[in-house]
Assembly symmetry: C2
Homo-oligomer: 253 residues x 2
């Protein structure tokens, strides 16, 4: 059952598993070359953070769960690295907050779109009854060029809340400009993606997605007023500056 | 003549050119998947440094030039990313300090070895009369497994000073344990590679290699006593802690 020949107790288990999944993603035609470079950037920031979920990121994950549960039409956006790294965890979250999943690529090709949709189905999307959108791409995000702006009219096009883990800055800003409430997962607290989010989670996607799901399950029976109170208590700017402090003051080695 | 359709005055010119060269390196069979991830890690640290050569890195580059000029048998070690990013600059440095170049890969395959040697020749190695070593691999670095430890007996095997830009930590430590004086170029000031170096240069290889060459040209006529004085004045621990401070106090965005 283990994907890599390293015990879970190994101090580098998570990063070795992450690396393995990204490389397997390349072999499957899921992860792009840009995705590998992005993975490296994430590794460096995660190293500076101490490869842990800092308390403010846990608060952000809870606020994200509240926002997704309050949404009328939540959509989880999946790109190549997300599909490679957290296929099951993304489907678990979709079930927990009753969201659709939309494949949404910065470098869109039909082959990668199909490979990613197939990968999500291989991880149980149909059994979990989670719709995989994105292949249609019959709507556009205003302000982005043609290929970059493609979305599903009944997915991200119609969504009120979108989870965009590891999103490109231009697209995160364009989605915010459309009036979407965004949850962004990004290890760089001052990236444009993180700064355009209603709820930025400065954490590794491998830790953050299951953490949002855990909070969503815990909050699933809560009254809307309680969810709204959690959201009101969350301050995105505070979360970003606390994460920046953690990166600056953490142990480098 | 320009490799990318972006003017040199563009604020992101250097990083766009770097990205382009790394991707072209993949197409040519020079850069590995691990190399792409390493490039991303470097981008994140360089971003934190402000994508500039800090004064302590310039001092380190000068000390590196002195060390290479003082060496009996200096060798410049070249891996996939170095070949993709700075082929000409590496040959210029080899000429300036009268060093051999040795191709030395963490993930060694005959195909990549040959592709890198051919790439260096395409950039003028023969015209510059710089020997390209590494294909022989008739000696071993003690303490490393067979493939990882291969070196040329008349290259790194016999060298007293080795420049290892972007080197893996295990190998940098093993070379230091053999008594080689190492110049390491690494953007992470607390990596094992940087810490095992006699002269660590915390800078982007794209800026650092030409900078060492410029110092070497300036120092080429200097008496040995002057070169030795430059080396004595250089403190590796200071250089690393100054770089760490720059990363922590720099502007994140």
């Amino acid at each position: 059952m283990t994907e890599i020949e390293v015990p879970e107790s190994h101090p580098r288990y998570q990063s070795l598993l992450t690396r393995h999944r990204i490389e397997a993603g390349i072999e499957r035609g899921i992860t792009s070359q840009q995705g590998l470079i992005a993975e490296g950037r994430g590794e460096a920031f995660d190293y500076l953070l101490g490869e842990r979920t800092i308390p403010s990121a846990d608060d952000a994950a809870r606020a994200a769960a509240a926002l997704l549960l309050l949404a009328e039409r939540p959509v989880l956006s999946v790109n190549g690295n997300v599909a490679a790294l957290v296929p099951e965890a993304t489907l678990d979250l979709a079930v927990a907050v009753d969201a659709d999943v939309e494949v949404n690529l910065f470098n869109r090709t039909d082959e990668r779109m199909r490979a990613i949709a197939a990968h999500l189905r291989a991880h149980g999307a149909d059994e979990a009854d989670v719709p995989i959108r994105g292949l249609e791409a019959d709507a556009r995000i205003p302000g982005l060029d043609h290929e970059r702006g493609k979305v599903d009219a009944h997915g991200i096009g119609a969504a009120d809340v979108v989870l965009v883990p590891l999103e490109d800055g231009d697209r995160a800003e364009a989605l915010a400009a459309m009036g979407k409430s965004e949850v962004v997962i990004d290890l760089n607290p001052l990236s444009r993606s993180a700064r355009s989010a209603a709820v930025p989670i400065v954490d590794n996607v491998v830790r953050a997605v299951p953490n949002v799901t855990a909070h969503a399950r815990e909050l699933s029976g809560a009254p809307r007023a309680d969810l709204e109170a959690i959201l009101r208590a969350f301050d995105a700017d505070d979360a970003l500056s606390t994460a920046e402090d953690a990166i600056r003051s953490g142990e480098l080695a």
